[in-house]
């Protein structure tokens, strides 16, 4: 996994609540057997019409907005557990998603793939949206070490929570499987006392 360092970037505002993973990547694109290339199908049905023509009114098709940070409405990533949703967002080029609320599985999946979910208050989210409305080039600074997110133009800042273990993993580019493998003896010892009933 890539190490996560501080990110300063403009952002893409997606002011929609309850964005479910079926919208992030529709099921019909889940047939690939490798994790690359999903960015093409990110928000497929919001981005493209039935004839694969870009829909002008969708924010990803609006050249005014760009950047490594996706800012979305409350309850982002609900629905299906598909990690493909995270791969698509990451593959498209985002490294941070900001919302006032994340669905649990999405949050876990994101952290496992080096995509940082930053949960902010409703009020701070509204501030970001209104600032970006005023100036589409508005930059945000996401500092994982200090767990802060800042709107650079106004200097307004908020702290965000991140599980200390996951934070460590992200900062070091360290991976859960490596960690689990290092516990092999402990796992085998646990298995000896485990409750199992034979068939």
């Amino acid at each position: 996994m890539e190490k996560f360092t501080t990110i300063i970037s403009s952002c893409v505002p997606l002011n929609v609540e309850n964005v479910d993973t079926d919208q992030i990547v529709p099921a019909r694109f889940l047939k690939a057997t490798s994790r690359e290339g999903f960015g093409e199908n990110l928000f497929r049905d919001w981005r493209f019409d039935a004839n694969n023509q870009p829909k002008k009114d969708f924010v990803l098709n609006n050249p005014t907005y760009s950047g490594k940070i996706l800012v979305a409405g409350k309850n982002f990533g609900c629905g299906s557990s598909r990690e493909h949703a995270v791969w698509a967002i990451y593959d498209y080029g985002f490294r941070v998603v900001v919302s006032s609320f994340f669905a649990d599985i999405f949050k876990n999946n994101a952290l496992n793939c080096g995509l940082l979910p930053v949960q902010v208050s409703e009020a701070f989210l509204a501030k970001i949206f209104s600032q970006v409305d005023k100036d589409p080039r508005t930059e945000l600074k996401v500092d994982l070490e200090n767990q802060t997110i800042t709107i650079l133009a106004t200097g307004e800042s908020e702290n965000f929570e991140v599980n200390p273990y996951k934070k460590e993993c992200l900062l070091k580019g360290y991976d859960d499987v490596d960690y689990l493998l290092s516990l092999k003896d402990k796992i085998e010892a646990y298995e000896k006392s485990r409750i199992v009933f034979s068939v």
């Binding site: 479910d20 079926d22 049905d45 039935a50 496992n112 793939c113 689990l180 402990k186 409750i195 009933f197």
Partner: protein, 462 residues
């Protein structure tokens, strides 16, 4: 030292903690792991890249369900990508000594149907699968939840997961259910009250007289949809109904082991003085047959109700082509889908048959009846339900996820209305542009007969 009682969830969780990371999550041992063709291939690639073999292959069971056609399963899958995914799963299972119930196998079916049906799902276990509706298995008093592909890789590599302990919620439903009210209506009702994100961060124990009175099938429907209110999973205390259901199944403990198991399972229910982080109580008498009118499962109402005048989600109403204040009863529909891991069990088809018997489906509706598994399909035929369906003008299809997520050919066309017993009414879930109305199997049967949104209570005597 606190002597506070423990919840069912606490008891199962504590028994599975291999290691507690300081200030962090726990390393949790996983008893049972299910995999399917869509979310597992990248995880196998991952462990192979690390030069690993699956650590405990006998604790993983595979099935193919998401992609499979529901007609002519005997023939090779026509769609190339789907065929490849299924082949890839078979190959991965072969290379790593994992049991797979492939297409046509008598144990094949939707992953959350076959686990319980085969007795692989048991109380007190930790169960995971790369699929959010793994919550279904919680109906047995196990900790069951959906995981992502990176986590599948962790389980394949170490039989463990790194998990933070969630908060606990208890939802109690007191009293007795009214006529025509099923477990699907209970859960749609709960989600409509708590919203599609009301359970986020929580594991939910369902309790109370109305829950206790339910069959295992019906309990599974409730836990299955716990995820639709954002919860990590649902859990229901095991009792005699649970033991009766498991007894004698393929992979259930037998003989002396059975007695030992039951004795252990009986220790699992939450202690009377156990505390939950959040509690809700509802009265079963307030629940009526439910339908959804929007594009998340929280947008539900009674079948006889009207869409709220002040519904804030106008985007959803636009997609559904509904108006605030609109009544849906009597509105013509185009499709009916009965199946999925929510309502694709034998009891669901029996219930559907009871209503449809002696009627014909309306000419304007296409009805897809898709059993949740080969075993369900077999029972439908043996019990004569298939004949009842055919007399009503409805053929029976073959098992799979089908129109629940429309990865195969079973897609509802754009703009059409589908009354579906599945779990998600998201935009495009049943096909690009499809409009889904979630309901119980008996409400679906009433709608199939009328060709319109209908109140099943019209079809029930007394």
């Amino acid at each position: 030292m606190s002597t506070k009682g423990k919840t069912l969830f606490d008891k199962v969780w504590e028994r599975h903690v291999v290691h507690q990371i300081d200030n962090g999550p726990a390393v949790l041992y996983i008893d049972r792991h299910f995999i399917h063709e869509v979310t597992s291939p990248v995880a196998f690639k991952g462990i192979e890249r690390r030069g690993l073999k699956v650590f405990r292959p006998e604790q993983t069971t595979a099935t193919c369900d998401h992609n499979v056609p529901t007609l002519y399963q005997e023939l090779p899958i026509k769609e190339e990508l789907s065929r490849k995914q299924v082949q890839q799963l078979a190959e991965n299972c072969k290379n790593h000594n994992i049991t797979m119930f492939g297409l046509g196998h008598p144990f094949n079916g939707v992953v959350h149907i076959i686990g319980p049906e085969l007795g692989l799902t048991q109380p007190g276990m930790t169960i995971v699968c790369g699929d959010s509706h793994t919550a279904t298995h919680g109906a047995f008093g196990s900790i069951a939840f959906g995981i992502g592909t990176s986590e599948i890789e962790m389980v394949l590599a170490s039989q463990c997961l790194i998990q933070a302990k969630p908060k606990l919620m208890r939802i109690t439903i007191n009293g007795k259910l009214g006529k025509g009210v099923t477990s699907k209506d209970i859960i749609l009702y709960i989600i409509s009250k708590l919203t599609a994100s009301g359970g986020t961060g929580y594991f939910v124990e369902f309790a109370g007289e109305a829950i206790r009175s339910l069959s295992m099938e019906a309990r599974m429907t409730i836990c299955n949809m716990a995820i639709e209110m954002g919860a990590r999973g649902g859990i229901i205390a095991p009792d005699e109904v649970t033991f009766e259901y498991i007894k004698g199944r393929q992979f259930a403990p037998k003989g002396a082991e059975w007695d030992k198991a039951v004795a252990y399972w009986k220790t699992l229910p939450s202690d009377p003085d156990a505390e939950f982080d959040k509690e809700y109580t509802f009265d079963a008498a307030d629940i009526e047959p439910m339908i959804t009118y929007g594009t998340n499962p929280g947008m539900g109402m009674k079948v006889t109700g009207t869409i709220p005048e002040n519904e804030p989600n106008t985007k959803a109403l636009e997609y559904m082509n509904f108006k605030p204040g609109q009544k849906l009863l009597g509105m013509p529909i185009d499709y009916v889908f009965v199946g999925s891991c929510t309502n694709g069990r034998i009891e669901d088809f029996r219930a559907f048959a009871q209503i449809i018997k002696g009627h014909k489906k309306a000419d304007n509706v296409t009805v897809w009846l898709v059993p949740g598994s080969k075993q369900v399909e077999k029972q439908i035929i043996e019990e004569g339900l298939k004949d009842i369906f055919e007399a009503a003008g409805i053929p029976l299809r073959q098992p799979g996820c089908s129109a629940c997520l429309a990865m195969n050919e079973d897609k509802v066309p754009a703009g059409k209305y589908s009354v579906s017993t599945s779990n998600r009414n998201f935009e495009g879930r049943q096909g690009p542009g499809a409009r889904t109305i979630l309901a119980s199997p008996i409400t679906a049967a009433a709608c199939a007969i009328k060709g319109a949104i209908a109140d099943v209570r019209e079809f029930l005597n007394n």
